[in-house]
């Protein structure tokens, strides 16, 4: 046991913060999606870390969970990219702040 758990958690938190900042601040829809992916992966890293340092590390539960999470994230990105392309075709832009037709 060389590296303590808190290191992984700090990396994961940083990763999450970077992803959140990207998702909130970027204008380009694709970059926003990348930010979202970063946040997901930060969560995955947390899963792995807690599984590895947990009481039943031999059972592979954390690993399985993360693999499912990655698969779901891939599907989600596919849908999101299809949406972005559809919106781009319609409005000739991928800038998120121009997508405001849902305002009151």
């Amino acid at each position: 046991m060389s590296t303590p758990l808190s290191y992984y958690l700090v990396v994961s938190a940083l990763l999450f913060s970077v992803g959140l900042a990207g998702a909130l601040a970027r204008r380009n829809a694709v970059l926003v999606l990348i930010g979202l992916e970063l946040m997901l992966n930060a969560a995955n890293l947390n899963f792995i870390a807690f599984w590895r340092y947990g009481p039943h590390a031999e059972r592979l539960t954390g690993l399985m969970f993360v693999i499912f999470s990655i698969a779901v994230a891939a599907a989600e990105v596919a849908v999101a990219l299809a949406l972005v392309i559809a919106i781009y075709r319609h409005r000739h832009t991928a800038q998120v702040d121009r997508f405001d037709s849902l305002k009151g």
Partner: protein, 657 residues
């Protein structure tokens, strides 16, 4: 008989259907309209004959059904087949049939021909319904329908103001009597608990006949009120002479043969519940009416009015016969009178028709040669009405009444009144026949008079035969009619005629009749031959008496001055009360309501509307302000969520310490 009574309703239903169909026919379908009415009446007549033959076996059959029910009380209607009803059925349907046929000729020139037959059928239906009714309620319904038909037919020539007034008068005057009948009906219902006449022992008449209920004078007299109105007894006789404004067949059918007989029939029908006092009243009213109307008839100049007063007088005889002698006596005169009075009216119609609608007998004269057939039949009717002995029906029926009055234990006055009436009857009928048919024509119309077509004279001939024949069914020697009504077998016994009691009355009345005919003939044959016929010989002899009779004892004037004026004053008072008092009250209330409404409106517009406007404006403004937060920028929402999450986290961390 039992099986027949179930289908008895078809008899009135046939003319009723004809009336309904006639009401829907266009006015130009004249032949169809008349054919329908005559055909339906012929069907009714044939069925009536069947019913009549069924009643030759003594007995009574009824068919009752429930009309409607409220609470525990069921109102029942029904029909009854008994000799009393059957003989009326045959008489009404037969006379109606003849008069319908006659009308087809008499009314041929009328533009409203189809409607006339519709009304006549309605009348026939109502009258036949009245005859078969086994419930006083059904009787009353038909009774009112008869009144309605009478109103429609008297006012048939409604363009004439006098006809319209006469129709109104007839309707209103008979209504006075009907009120009595209605009250009597209610009272009877409260006493007997049913209005069915015969109901297997439970009917009201059966209760009275069995003695389980004591005859009530009040109920009897109230029901008699209805009969007084309908049958034109004093003091409600005033409408009947005025009803002569209607077409002559109507006068013949309704105001001579059938409808006015309804009152007599009513008394005969409810005879078991008449108390002895009520019978006395009936007898006296009848006797007074008989003399009173006969004396007026002496001084009338309108051919139909003479017959009308004669009808009133004969109805008086019938009432007298009912009161003093019983059902058979009164009903026998009703039947014989129906035939000869229908004959006389139709004969008068023929005369009027031949003289181009002239009704004043002073302008006629000498028609004996111009209208021989009419004269012959009219003479038969006249002799039947006078009661010429042995060969004419009127003699036998009138003799039965006089005989009953003679034997009446209460008083001899009706007998003497009846004798005076018989004398007057013979006198005025002879006068009429002399002036109309003898002497020389007194006007251009009479000079050019012509005999009527055979569609009119054939019914006259048939009725003339019957006016003679019917009498032989009720002679003292062979009282078939009386036994038929009472349900026994007549025995032929010639000695009954020459029984001293009978013979005295018979000889007395016959002597009076002959004296009257001779006297009147002597006076009026001479008068009719004179070129100037304006003044009556009686008028020259006794101008005051003649004027009194000619103006009908001023009864109309007296009613005008008292009852009518009182009613008018009361109506004016009501009118004033209505307009000034109640109207004023209503106006005040309406102003109050209008003022209240104005106030209401002001409050509504300023307070309620303003409040709502302000409220909605506030909601709208705040909504506008709030909607600025929702700008569609998904990232901003996310930012807010992130900030809020951080805030929450910090709060939780702080809270945990």
């Amino acid at each position: 008989m039992e099986s027949l009574v179930k289908y008895l309703w078809i008899i009135p239903a046939a003319p009723l259907l004809a009336a309904a169909a006639g009401a829907l026919l266009p006015a130009r379908r004249r032949r169809l309209g008349a054919g329908l009415a005559i055909g339906a009446m012929a069907v009714a007549f044939l069925l009536s004959c069947a019913a009549f033959f069924a009643t030759l076996q003594p007995g009574r059959a009824t068919s009752n059904f429930r009309w409607f029910q409220f609470g525990d009380t069921a109102v029942q209607l029904g029909w009854v087949l008994d000799p009393l009803g059957a003989v009326m059925l045959v008489m009404v349907s037969f006379v109606s049939l003849l008069i319908f046929v006659y009308s087809a000729g008499y009314m041929a020139g009328d533009w409203n021909f189809t409607r006339f037959f519709c009304f006549m059928s309605l009348f026939g239906a109502a009258m036949l319904g009245l005859v078969i009714a086994n419930s006083l309620l059904l009787f009353f319904i038909c009774w009112e329908l008869v009144g309605l038909a009478s109103y429609l037919l008297i006012g048939f020539w409604f363009q004439k103001p006098s006809a319209a007034a006469a129709a109104k008068k007839a309707f209103i005057v008979t209504r006075i009597g009907d009120l009595g009948l209605f009250l009597g009906m209610l009272l009877l219902y409260s006493k007997a608990g049913t209005l069915l006449f015969y109901d297997g022992g439970r009917g009201c008449l059966e209760q009275y006949a069995a003695g389980s209920l004591a005859a009530s004078t009040v109920i009897s007299l109230l029901i008699f009120c209805g009969a007084v109105g309908k049958s034109g007894q004093v003091p409600l006789h005033v409408w009947l002479p005025d009803a002569m404004e209607g077409p002559t067949p109507v006068s013949a059918l309704i105001h001579a043969a059938t409808m006015v007989a309804a009152g007599v029939f009513l008394i005969a029908r409810v005879y078991p519940l008449m108390s002895d006092q009520a019978k006395e009243v009936v007898t006296f009213v009848g006797a007074v009416t008989a003399v009173f109307a006969a004396s007026i008839a002496v001084a009338q100049n309108d051919i139909k009015r003479i017959l009308a007063y004669s009808t009133v007088s004969q109805l008086g005889y019938m009432m007298m016969g009912l009161g003093a002698g019983g059902i058979a006596v009164g009903m026998f005169h009703l039947i014989t009178h129906a035939f000869f009075k229908a004959l006389l009216f139709l004969g008068a119609g023929s005369v009027i028709h031949g003289c181009h609608d002239e009704q004043d007998i002073r302008k006629m004269g000498g028609l004996r040669k111009l209208m021989p057939l009419t004269f012959a039949t009219y003479a038969a009717g006249m002799m039947a009405l006078c009661g010429v002995p042995l060969f004419f029906s009127g003699f036998w029926s009138k003799d039965a009444i006089l005989d009953a009055a003679h034997q009446w234990p209460v008083s001899k006055a009706p007998f003497y009144l009846g004798l005076i009436g018989a004398f007057l009857t013979a006198f005025y009928m002879t006068r009429q026949v002399c002036i109309v048919f003898f002497g020389k024509p007194a006007s251009e119309e009479a000079r050019h008079a012509h005999e009527s077509p055979s569609v009119m004279t054939v019914p006259l001939a048939i009725l003339a035969c019957l006016a003679v024949v019917v009498g032989f069914f009720g002679t003292p020697a062979w009282p078939w009619f009386q036994k038929y009504l009472e349900g026994g077998r007549p025995a032929f016994d010639l000695s009954k005629i020459v029984a001293p009691e009978q013979l005295t009355v018979m000889l007395l009345s016959a002597g009076l009749v002959f004296a009257a005919i001779l006297l009147s003939g002597l006076i009026y044959v001479k008068a009719a031959a004179r070129p100037s016929r304006e003044t009556d010989p009686l008028e020259r002899a006794q101008p005051a008496v003649f004027a009194l009779l000619n103006r009908k004892f001023f009864i109309d004037e007296i009613y005008d001055a008292t009852v009518v004026r009182l009613t008018a004053v009361f109506a004016r008072l009501s009118d004033w009360l209505d307009r000034a008092f109640w109207g004023g009250l209503v106006r005040v209330f309406s102003w109050l309501v209008v003022a209240l409404a104005c106030l209401d409106r002001a409050v509504d517009e300023s307070v309620v509307n303003g409040g709502f406007d302000a409220g909605t404006e506030t909601v709208r403004g705040s909504g506008k302000w709030m909607s600025r937060f929702q700008n569609g920028q998904a990232q901003r929402y996310l930012r807010v969520i992130g900030l809020a999450f951080c805030g929450l986290l910090i709060l939780l961390l702080w809270g945990s310490q």
